[in-house]
Amino acid sequence: MTEQRPLDRQTMANRAAMEFQDGWVVNLGIGIPTLCSNFVHPDRRVIYQSENGLVNYGPLAAEGEEDPNLVNAGGQYVVEMAGMAVQDHADSFALIRGGYVDVTALGAYEAAANGDFANWKVAGARGGGIGGAMDLAVGAKNVFLLMEHTTKEGKPRLVERCALPVTARGVVTLVVTNLGLFRVAPEGFVLEEIAPGYAPSDVQAATDARLVVSPSLREFRRAG
């Protein structure tokens, strides 16, 4: 029997990034999603966009080479790309809500089988951090979630219906966790790819929603 090997964060990000098509406009949320830009497609051009107004920005800046006035939406210093453009905040969110973002990859506390997700408020809190997530969730053509399959305490994050206040309803198209890759279909979570050493029943046991196992289920694809 193969050893169970959940994916590390970079591998999860790489797998999501493999879905980015040539010419796509991509917005990456704080956390695992920002790691997506480390994955470089040999033959595709991906255009990164950030809420604070950058269009077509480049990779993270090396230490000592930061421009103090050039950051991505996570506040990380990035480098300028040839072909970059800067917009103000209203124009930037006009772009986002206007339907020009092909995919937003976000972190989440919970993903639900009906395409809802929750990522702005924790249980019992009065407030939270919405940031650009609600605009991105309704504006982007695809919403990918990148998240650990369970909490540190082992509680499932993939659920039938969100218990936490939602960020948006019915918008999630793909979820990548350390255990599996799931399409969100009318019938719910469809397990398409699985981490090495895991059986669908293992993943189902760590999930609070009924999983549909794809007839073409396979081990996680890797680049190369």
Partner: protein, 238 residues
Amino acid sequence: MRNKVYPTFDDAVADVPDGASVMLSGFAGPGTARNLIAALLRQGASRLTLIANTPGRWGDGRIDGGALIEQGRVAMVRAAFTASPHPSAASPFTELYEAGEIEAELMPQGTLAERIRAAGAGIPAFYTPAGAGTETALGKETRVFGGREHVMETALPADYALIRARRADRFGNLQYHRSQRNFGPVMARAATVTIVEVDEPVVEEGAIDPDHVHTPGLFVDRIVVVPPDGIREEPPNR
């Protein structure tokens, strides 16, 4: 025409009264008018309403809206965050807010930006899909357009805007450098009095190409040049 260039940050914020609403540009650092905020801190105005992307932070030696909150000058914050943008990092504001010691209105970041734009554009209200079906839409009017639920949001003006730019001419035409732009252009339009700190010396009119003006000067009321010993934007590790 009145001279818009002020000698000091203190002069530029001298008239901000208690209870004023103050917009603070800035996103994760760039665009934050740290010198004007420091002057407002010295000036002493209280019961302020801050309108900004985040409530800021404090304790790390950098001046932003958080410094005003820490000193008890702020009654209300309208922002896209009450918790830290980085869920793993605690924000001192979060504790105050969760304890009910300060008020806040939390909204999607695009709604914040568009409400500010609307205030400067003579648009009293608009509909957005952001936040529909979520807790943030509670108590708000909703309406279906094209089969999809939208929330009605209203214009968000302010008495003052404190913004930071790279360069100004004497008329107040502004250019921002890269991510410094963020909320500056919409806040300059939405506030009754717009005060800007600029990184470079003020240039004569005509020195900025009309095609490359980001904020036309008629939206700008006061300009202060950040002196050599002023607070400059710096990466955290420098």
